[in-house]
């Protein structure tokens, strides 16, 4: 199905949200004008309405991990444009643009780090990189990070932010869903904990694979989480969707999340979970 309908629409938006140019920014939810330094201090959430701004892996690493504990892994894996995919633009050019803008290799950053001195392996998505879409590189890095957690026997934590599978790698992208499932099967059998954090948005092939498979599924407030994008559903059923549909609070109510945790409290919650696991 059309997992990308929504994410495409959001790519441009999110780039503004991720890297606003001036000193001030506007909350997309309540229109409050926020001083950017203050926003960062406040975990990139709106003081007035608690809207959680979309952020990338660098910010999550700063917020969640012990200072200077993160060591990035798998930095040399890049997309090969295996299908030589061209639509209105060549995929290879899209990759170049995304590489340049985001200074990222792809939509997933992996590495080791510590949370309150406990070692973990982290896989964090970057929505700013082609809508956080999962192609071969995301799948491969998710796999390798998972295998590293398995080898070290330390908890594996993923942070999802994705419009779904990467269309430009077609069936190869689709197979990444099964690939992440395969490594999580290994972790489950070895009883290595896997914690999935779902942020805005987590849809399509990412929600329908590793993001929904956590021993704990934890979401940020207000995050859009679902299989089909809202626009696709509206087109299918020819009706407007109710307010709050597919938001984290809705999923918690329907029984698909263990908890919703504010970004400012996420580290504390993870410490308590890791503590319990020990």
């Amino acid at each position: 199905m059309a997992w990308f309908v929504r994410s495409k629409k959001n790519i441009e938006k999110s780039q503004h949200r991720d890297m606003p140019d001036g000193l001030w920014t506007k909350c997309p939810s309540c229109n409050e004008i926020i001083y950017k330094a203050e926003l960062e201090e406040n975990y990139f959430t709106c003081k007035k309405c608690d809207y959680h701004f979309r952020i990338g892996s660098n910010d999550y690493i700063n917020i969640l991990l012990d200072e200077d504990s993160f060591e990035e892994t798998n930095t040399d894996i890049r997309s090969a444009d295996p299908l030589k995919f061209v639509d209105t633009k060549a995929y290879s050019d899209r990759l170049k643009v995304s590489n340049g803008k985001s200074k990222l290799n792809d939509a997933l950053t992996t590495g080791t780090g510590r949370i309150d001195k406990r070692e973990i392996v982290l896989a964090c998505m970057n929505f700013s990189f082609i809508g956080g879409s999962m192609g071969s590189v995301v799948g491969e890095k998710f796999l390798r990070a998972g295998l590293q957690a398995l080898e070290k026997r330390v908890p594996y934590i993923s942070i999802a932010a994705s419009g779904g599978a990467r269309m430009q790698e077609a069936a190869l992208s689709l197979m990444q869903m099964a690939k992440t499932g395969a490594v999580l099967a290994e972790l489950a059998e070895a009883k290595v904990p896997y914690i999935s954090i779902l942020t805005d948005p987590t849809t399509g092939g990412v929600s329908a694979s590793f993001a929904m498979l956590g021993d704990l599924n934890i979401a940020e407030p207000g995050a859009l989480i679902g299989f089909a994008g809202p626009r696709v559903i509206e087109e299918t059923i020819k009706k407007k969707l109710p307010a709050g549909f597919q938001r984290a609070e809705f999923l918690l109510e329907k029984g698909f999340l263990d908890m919703i945790v504010k970004r400012r409290e996420m580290r504390k919650t993870l410490i308590e979970v890791l503590n319990w696991l020990e």
């Binding site: 199905m1 491969e140 790698e169 869903m177 099964a178 395969a182 329908a208 498979l213 299989f227 597919q246």
Partner: protein
Amino acid sequence: MATKFILEFEKPIFELEQKINEMRSLDNDLDIGEEIEYLEKKMEDLRVNVFKNLTRWQRVQIARHPERLITMDYIKNMFEDFNELHGDRKFGDDHAIVGGIAKFQGTSVMVVGHQKGRDTKSNLYRNFGMPNPEGYRKAQRLFRLAEKFNKPIISFLDTPGAFPGIEAEERGQAEAIAHNLLVMAQLKVPILIIVIGEGASGGAIGIGVGDRVLMLENAWYSVISPESCSSILWRSWDFKEQAAEALKLTAPDLKKYNIIDSIVPEPVGGVHRNPTQMFETLSKVIREELDKLMSIPIDVLVPMRREKFMNMGVWKQG
């Protein structure tokens, strides 16, 4: 086999066929006989030529042909003692995924598949082969049942996608598919996957993880349909042909990228042109594949299955 539905690119063949039939209905004089022979040869050449050089979009059209065989056709014609098992024991019985116990040439198997309809009425009943979460959960229940009694699983893929609806989301479409990916990576019985028609997105792979993945010659399998891909990337519905080309969604494409293990040849013109031949060909292939899979110790087979999917993807390193 007579057909009511003629695809655009098949028209020249059928026009010739009609002409031949008209001539046959005339008196049998020698001159016409020679001409008929000539036209028949011309028709055969044309047929072979057209179907040898199908574009990707043409294959998609064959995969969606209204007379193409659907899962229950294969079950009824290639299996014995099929007893359909219903329901996910949690919410309901999804009609877009069918499954049950059956014998395949004497071997007890669990057979599961997406089920489309044949006409408007049955398509509405089957939701056009687009499952809701309870479909994936029913499949998972049957997979577990097969595992419990040590029976191999055969799964037929044929869906335009998992259903994008309000209730599907409420009941956890994403979780249902995700959970199947995990479970199918763990099942301690052989799993044979056969893509028979459309293999669209997560809705297809949700019952598509197995030890061997076969694909019929004119089936398609990808992350998105050419139409949706066109609407998103080209921002118009008019680029489906280009999208189909770009997606490289045919069996030969997927074989090249090691996503499928082998291609099962179809009768010339597609499965619907000669169902009997298709059943024969596929039965032979299933027999060979099952025998091979069942001879591999399960503690070897499951890691091999995981390895197979862990190796999927193409990237650069360095």
